[in-house]
Point group: C2
């Protein structure tokens, strides 16, 4: 496992414009006339400014999003059109669903380390509201639309920022526990009928996912910590995917005490692929995470995919 000398040079975030509440849970959905590219543009500009750069300094635009904006072209080309039209920066999508941001940092940290890229703009976020099923309360009341952006760049001489360890696993026993069956190649929009309309909604089998996670996650997390040679108490802050209100049950069971991890589910809900970078960005803004801190980005994603990444911020 190579150490990759990269740093988060700047981050940005943008929430959808319509705020709604379910009891004490606050969620955000796109307002009329707003689309995800509006949020992407805002988050990207903020991240690039925070990094003291201009868009022309970036040498790859990466969309690490869970869902496609269009079937063709890739999301990064559409974001490119908003922020880099006229430039020739390559546009690339990376997708491991909800943990796409961690996967993209994992991948591009390696490519920066090896010299293939120098400064990469990574964007994560999804239009959850486009496919939420009003009939499935559990998921309908959980998600928010948001985008977060991050400039990942080579760490300079004397800087200690780095990706220290990263691991991803996928157990496809869970492939159909979180899904949107319709709208794309396997079941196109043209195939929608009254009888299969439900297939075009987001569908989450919450209890089944929790059961699979309970079976897989403890072994996975312990294995990663052991392989990385790091103890839980050495980690300054854990930044988990804001999967659901069960976060406060799942994290202590994985050995992370309340306070050691970020839980903003009540404030923002599950922001799909934006969850991890959004709350990371906020924690950096609030100086809960500072240069030199050892942080852990982790989460579960549809697949079932799990990611675990130790990073010195």
């Amino acid at each position: 496992m190579p150490v990759c000398r990269v740093k988060i040079a700047g981050m940005g975030r943008a929430l959808a414009g319509e705020k709604i509440c379910f009891g004490n849970q606050v969620r955000y959905r796109l307002s009329l006339g707003q689309n995800l590219l509006d949020l992407a543009e805002k988050a990207a500009i903020q991240a690039i400014q925070a990094a003291n750069m201009e868009i022309k300094d970036v040498d790859a635009i990466v969309c690490a999003m869970a869902t496609p904006l269009q079937a063709i072209p890739c999301n990064a080309a559409l974001v490119h059109e908003r922020i880099a039209k006229g430039l020739d920066i390559p546009a690339i999508d990376i997708n491991t669903t909800c943990t796409s941001f961690i996967s993209a940092v994992d991948i591009f940290a390696g490519l920066v380390e090896i010299g293939r890229y120098e400064r990469v703009l990574i964007l994560s976020g999804d239009t959850a509201s486009a496919a939420l099923n009003p009939g499935q309360k559990e998921s309908y009341e959980l998600f928010s639309d948001a985008v977060a952006a991050c400039v990942l760049s080579r760490a300079e001489e004397g800087e200690h920022s780095a990706v220290l360890y990263s691991c991803q696993k996928t157990w496809s026993e869970g492939a159909h526990d979180t899904e949107i069956r319709g709208g794309c190649g396997l079941l196109s929009a043209f195939c929608m009928k009254k009888s299969n309309r439900e297939d075009y909604y987001f569908d989450m089998k919450g209890a089944k996912i929790l059961k699979l996670c309970a079976r897989k996650l403890p072994v996975f997390v312990n294995g990663c910590l052991e392989e990385a040679g790091v103890k839980r108490e050495e980690i300054h802050k854990v930044v988990p995917h804001q999967a659901s209100r069960a976060l406060d049950v799942v994290m202590p069971r994985l050995g992370f005490r309340p306070g050691s991890y970020i839980d903003r589910v009540a404030e923002y809900g599950n922001m799909v692929s934006a969850s991890v970078p959004f709350v990371l960005c906020e924690a950096i803004e609030m100086r809960q995470i500072q240069r030199g801190d050892l942080i852990l980005l982790m989460g579960t994603a549809a697949g079932l995919t799990v990611n675990f990444m130790l990073m010195r911020y």
Copy 2:
């Protein structure tokens, strides 16, 4: 630009079951009851066997496809379910539309070189037929459904296989020249009406793309060759994206004489992301490409994205 010591250890390919002809042009479309995962499974098994491996030897399953099978989860998780259920191999999607295969080799060559992965299974292919517009003859008669697979692995001591040079650029002036506007986040399946039904079909502005390519490609290709320090005559075989019947016009204009590049458009049409790996696999089977040969993988993709990769097979 780092040299990455990786090799194509094995390849496989699978064509859809229904053969149709438009004049002298042969195309393949999914037959009744067949889906892209059936082709993916077949191509993957063939590639793994050709590499003298078993699926458990692979340490990442990468879908480098242009289009999503479902909005959630990612394509690689669905392929994982077919070929690796019960195993914990990470599943990752990479997408730069038609040139996704080249991008994925570019990315994972770097990650193999740096030691993040050792043996990666890359699959490319799309269900073009799911969104073809019978009213747009130019695209309706062009595409085929197919999948190609490739095991990319570390080159052993004494082997000369490597990715020698790779470059990608995106010009989002072309973002809407090739697209499927409906079905996903920006315009969901639920928004389909009689008046916007056309938005859910694949839409290609062929003449506009050719014009943008004519303006961008010659400078791009010459720049890459110069940066790589390689002359056209040193390249044993060019493997271009099988974009359209204009291949025989475009390639000579880029300085590649007939015979120096593979043109299988009459036999297979445009197989979207499968085009490059499919004809590469066939050329290897036919021994037109042999170990040690310098090859060039290149192509244009919706975006507009262009890729150029020099590889010693």
